[in-house]
Symmetry: C2
Subunit: 348 residues, 2 copies
Amino acid sequence: MKTHLINWEPLRAYCQRLLQTQGMPEDEALIVADCLVEADLCGVESHGVSRMTIYLKRLEEKVVNPVYRIEIEKEYPGSMAINACNSMGMVAGKRIMQMCIDKAKQNGSCFITVSHSNHYGMAYYYVKMAAEQNMIGITATNAPPNIAPWGSFQAYMGTNPIAISAPSGAQPIILDMAPSVVAMGKLILAAKLGKPIPEGWAMTAEGQPTTDPNEGMKGTVLPIGGPKGYGIALFVDILCGALSGAYFGPHLGNMWHDFVNPQNVGHIFSCIDISKFLPPEDFKKRVDQIKQEIKVLPKNPGVTEIFMPGEIEWKRAADRREKGITVPETVYEELKQLGEKYHTAFDL
Amino acid sequence: MKTHLINWEPLRAYCQRLLQTQGMPEDEALIVADCLVEADLCGVESHGVSRMTIYLKRLEEKVVNPVYRIEIEKEYPGSMAINACNSMGMVAGKRIMQMCIDKAKQNGSCFITVSHSNHYGMAYYYVKMAAEQNMIGITATNAPPNIAPWGSFQAYMGTNPIAISAPSGAQPIILDMAPSVVAMGKLILAAKLGKPIPEGWAMTAEGQPTTDPNEGMKGTVLPIGGPKGYGIALFVDILCGALSGAYFGPHLGNMWHDFVNPQNVGHIFSCIDISKFLPPEDFKKRVDQIKQEIKVLPKNPGVTEIFMPGEIEWKRAADRREKGITVPETVYEELKQLGEKYHTAFDL
């Protein structure tokens, strides 16, 4: 497969310019472009610049508001209930996570619900912000259905991701996970490559185990730990949907097919200010000790290093920031065509 | 196997009296007895009255303080850092969860760390309290090592449970889960019955997959979703251990073998006051809607009902509260012998 090696900065600038053609202010377009490019840097291509086409389409169809606006519906020292007024999910995400950090600095901790939002990209992005400000950061979002409750084969919950971060002496420890064994994206990739998938990844629409990625895509992905993953996915929806006032379960709007109704996605953001428990330097030393103790444990055959959550993504991002991002020909062509469509000079 | 059908109230009263012989005040002994009996009511026998022997032994050896005492090390509107001064875990757990609820009522949310505590029984018990007061309740605790970091076969993290609750129109929805595929208790049971365990439950001490429960008990239990369950177990330890100031990983004291050094277990408690987001009645209606929609989904072959997290435990508890708890002969005999040892009339 032909690929292109592209520097992250011009890639981000190009995406930013494209988003500005659809009415996004310069600073807000930068946030969206930055979140997408960060995903590509980390190797989470499913949440990277390949999403530009659908985001631009939704802005063009005016099913998403191009200018950030929120309504604070309720506010207390340790909580906020926010209506994101159908703003772009990443702009809402970044600004509201910063509000959460600021309130946690005052009060020790803070918990915020967000309703009437949109797809907010990679959850990692927001908790990384928190860790860089000496916070434990937590976020989760609901998503359209892809996981069935345990005992059923019909999707109800999305692959609702949850992310949590902690600073360390070096890079932060970041866990960003869906409660499914694999992301739907891995099925899409297997189908494209014509490869079978292992048993335990997905069920058909009729509830049969399958190794055919196409059948799995019509069905559901399986939750981790059976009823445990079901429970995690459900509780993300209870918080992000039921508590926030957003849609939940199958009521969520579909980003890919519905260009009339807003998605009404819900998120949560939560921060814990480490300095309200112990000096952040002491905390980081304790986390470093954990890391050092884990690194020297005996390894399984074929394992060269034991990684902390998020460590692989962090190292990959550092590497790609220096050497460039490898963009597949299909995505490269898509970006080029977006330039033509939205009258933006393509310079990558 | 011979069993005894015992009413929960005399069982709880007997356990309470036994605990009082070792210096526990009447009201505190009641909390511990109640938490143990609640676990038996729910069918979580691993955390039930079968633990009386070890709790009494630890009290007798004076490795645990029989009288509840805490030091509030830091307090802010939305947070507390508490040293539980080697109190009994359940007494600390129940009282500190109530403090968390009260602070969340004032501030919207609250997050509390607890250090220098002990085994606190079933996490379900504390989040149930929160749900009954219209809160989202969250708790987690660290535990001595039983899970290896992904890529290793040496245990570092415990089967660190995490629990979360939400009220509904009927009973609360409660997820109480370890990040391992199964609890170590299931291996112990299989070993007792001389039965093999399925692949995917455990590794030997040398990192080999095993179906022999005895080999698994010497090794580690596997995390759910591979690196995901590792990440969850690790973050519970980062919060309950590194942030709280308690021990973490392999440094935690062993409840069963060490009668000299306090365990220094850490917990977290967090509450979100639903009324600070929407009227609790509206929230409960939304959760009921989710429940109703899930209940009518098509079922897998052999499935008669789709359950909400915690629903099976709740129904079992209601049933056993009415009809009695079935106690196996071994546990019955143990309880009887404890009466002789601690000069307490056995009346069950």
